[in-house]
């Protein structure tokens, strides 16, 4: 049983120790009997076929880096949509999932067209960070989900959030976080979320294994 992982924008969307997620998912998938092969792709690559992969991960970056990735990702939008529709498991943390909505308005007022996987709208400002330790709940795992949010955006128009916000120590205002549709999991929580939340990592890995079978 072979599992192909894609670490998308590994060298530019890796602001908060996100490489930990890849290491953790490799370990968990191997423990479930998969032979894991990880590809790393970035903004200089011209040959990405998202449908080839069993698990796709992307982490957080600076706003400038994220915009650069969005422009690059546009060239591969169709295979990304195809992979999403066919149920490939994807985890996007921090501001990376903001690329996949309808529009993204940056702090200087520029409106970028999103990849269009979802129809949410992102609006950023350049004055304040919304940040803090958070605990979240979802109905996928029994355990609380813990982590840290560090962003400067607000996302409008998500119908299927991934988490309900339980507790915030900081300036995060939202009651809901992230997005969950098909096998896509997006959250504003940054960093190695699957390390801090092993039950969530297990859940994702089980979905990957289920697809492999």
């Amino acid at each position: 049983m072979k599992a192909k992982i894609l670490y998308l924008y590994y060298d530019i969307m890796n602001l908060y120790g996100e490489s930990g997620n890849i290491r953790m998912m490799e370990r968990v998938l191997e423990s479930k009997g998969a032979q894991v092969e990880t590809d790393r792709k970035t903004v200089t690559d011209t040959d990405i076929d998202f449908t080839q992969y069993d698990f796709i991960y992307c982490g957080a970056g600076t706003e400038h880096s994220r915009n650069t990735c969005l422009e690059h990702l546009r060239g591969f939008a169709s295979t990304l949509k195809e992979a999403f529709e066919s149920g490939v498991v994807m985890l996007f943390t921090g501001n990376s999932y903001e690329m996949l909505g309808d529009t993204l308005t940056t702090a200087d007022g520029t409106e970028h067209k999103g990849i269009g996987l979802f129809d949410f709208a992102v609006k950023e400002q350049g004055k304040n960070r919304y940040s803090g330790d958070v605990t979240l709940r979802c109905n996928l795992c029994e355990e609380q989900f813990i982590g840290y949010i560090n962003k400067c955006s607000e996302v409008q128009g998500i119908k299927t959030p991934l988490f309900q916000v339980n507790c915030v120590a900081g300036t995060v205002k939202e009651q809901e976080d992230g997005i969950h549709e098909k096998n896509f999991f997006g959250t504003q929580v940054i960093g190695p979320v699957t390390v801090k939340n092993p039950a969530f990592g297990e859940y994702i890995a089980d979905l990957v294994i289920k697809n492999l079978n």
Partner: protein, 444 residues
């Protein structure tokens, strides 16, 4: 206006006097003064030279060395020696140095400024020269990220200021783009350099101006080195103050080909701080010979390196910064370079002493892999976050047999006292260092 200045200065001095009696910090007098006189800094008559230092790492050390050199050169210097680097602390030390008519008595003012607060501190007065040491991933829980901090620092700048920039840091040198008043410091190719960046991440991989890939001729460490953008032309600029030769083994640097400065502590970041201090002394008009001599062998007082004993065992505590992977990487390199058989302690007990957070993502940015080294015979993971560290270490190639986990700090100290190797290195943060050092027998 004169009356307002008189009252503000007198008030600040009185509060400072009382605060000292009560053992309070150096921020409070400035804080109270600013409540009554919010724009008081606008009315202070500064000397002709005001030099400020900001950046992620090395501010306090650099400032301490600048102050030392200037004093040796016979100048009267006002500076925030207690390290209070936000507007309150700056107000305290400036007003403490003032006559009642609001004139600074010293010949020169030097100050470190918190990178996030420079825009507030420098709202009512501008330094003539602003030295920027580096911009790293540092305290991202409150700083966001280095590019965010860049934008925040940029808000304090105007055309009157001369920028003194680290040419080897691509994000810092972006401040000099299309600017007249700028000079650079940096290091030429050195024997310690590497052609590849082997760190966990590389923040120099993409150009901070246009995000096209950058190419490096060499790396001094992490993303600090000689770079150029493959697209927009952003590149390492020529330097006025240059480390032309250095040996960490023998502990010296040579500046501009002729000024040899011996280092009391051999680490690459100390080389940069020393160079920045040399540059500041030059700007202040100190003879370079005098500056080099004053900096030679200078022992930092700010306690970043503390030697201690535990029974018959000796060790060094390397004050690193939690939430700052480069500072950890540097400390790990120091431990790795020691030839003796070493115990290395990594201690994370409170992430910050200033604010509450449980965020540990930064542990994944540290190159702990480097602790796999022949001289390192055991690694102790200590403190409240010992389990987080243990998980992180389980993803390295370090032999599991040599890793020991102690949530309890006194227990780890007892262990070291009995079973520690020839030499002990403790890598931890300001917030945690006293928890270890109070259990040591002596310190220096």
């Amino acid at each position: 206006m004169k009356i307002k200045v008189f009252f503000a200065v007198a008030f600040c001095k009185c509060v400072r006097f009382l605060a000292k009696l009560l053992g309070r910090g150096s921020s409070l007098p400035g804080q109270l003064t600013l409540k009554l006189f919010p724009d008081i800094l606008k009315y202070i008559k500064m000397p002709s030279k005001v030099i400020a230092v900001t950046g992620s790492n090395g501010k306090t050390s650099t400032l301490e060395m600048i102050a030392h050199v200037l004093k040796v050169a016979g100048l009267r210097v006002a500076y925030n020696k207690e390290g209070s680097n936000q507007i309150e602390g700056v107000t305290t030390f400036l007003l403490s140095d003032c006559t009642l008519s609001g004139k600074i008595k010293s010949d020169i003012v030097i100050m470190e400024s918190d990178e996030r607060f420079a825009r507030h501190t420098f709202k009512h007065f501008k330094p003539n020269h602003l030295i920027i040491t580096n911009l790293y991933r540092d305290q991202l829980t409150r700083n966001g990220h280095p590019e965010w901090v860049y934008d925040v620092i940029a808000e304090c700048m105007d055309d009157s200021m001369e920028l003194i920039l680290n040419a080897d840091d691509p994000l810092v040198s972006k401040f000099g783009k299309d600017r007249d008043k700028v000079r650079y410091f940096g290091a030429d190719k050195l024997s310690i350099d590497e052609e590849e960046n082997t760190s966990v991440y590389n923040d120099g991989k993409y150009c901070p101006c246009c995000k096209a890939p950058m190419e490096y001729d060499y790396y001094h460490y992490n993303h600090i080195g000689s770079y150029h953008c493959t697209s927009c032309g952003h590149k390492r600029n020529d330097t006025v103050w240059t480390i032309t030769d250095a040996s960490l083994k023998e502990g010296y640097i040579v500046v501009n080909g002729k000024y040899k400065i011996t280092l009391s502590f051999s680490s690459i970041y100390h080389c940069y701080n020393t160079l920045a201090a040399f540059a500041a002394a030059d700007i202040a008009g100190v003879d370079p010979e005098v500056a080099a001599k004053a900096l030679s062998g200078y022992d930092l007082r700010s306690g970043r390196i503390v030697e201690f004993t535990l029974g018959d065992k000796q060790g060094t505590l390397l004050v690193s910064k939690h939430e700052n992977s480069i500072s950890y990487d540097q400390s790990i390199r120091v431990a790795r370079a020691d030839k003796r058989e070493c115990s290395v302690v990594v201690m994370v007990d409170a992430i910050s002493r200033k604010y509450q957070t449980y965020e540990t993502s930064w542990l994944w940015d540290i190159d702990f892999e480097l602790l796999k080294s022949d001289n390192i015979k055991e690694v102790l993971l200590v403190g409240r976050y010992a389990s987080d560290l243990a998980t992180r270490f389980s993803f390295t190639d370090i032999d599991k047999e040599i890793i020991k986990t102690f949530e309890d700090i006194p227990e780890s100290v007892e262990y070291l006292r009995k079973c520690g190797k020839d030499y002990i290195y403790v890598i931890t943060c300001f917030s945690d260092k006293e928890k270890f050092l109070t259990l040591a027998d002596s310190r220096r």
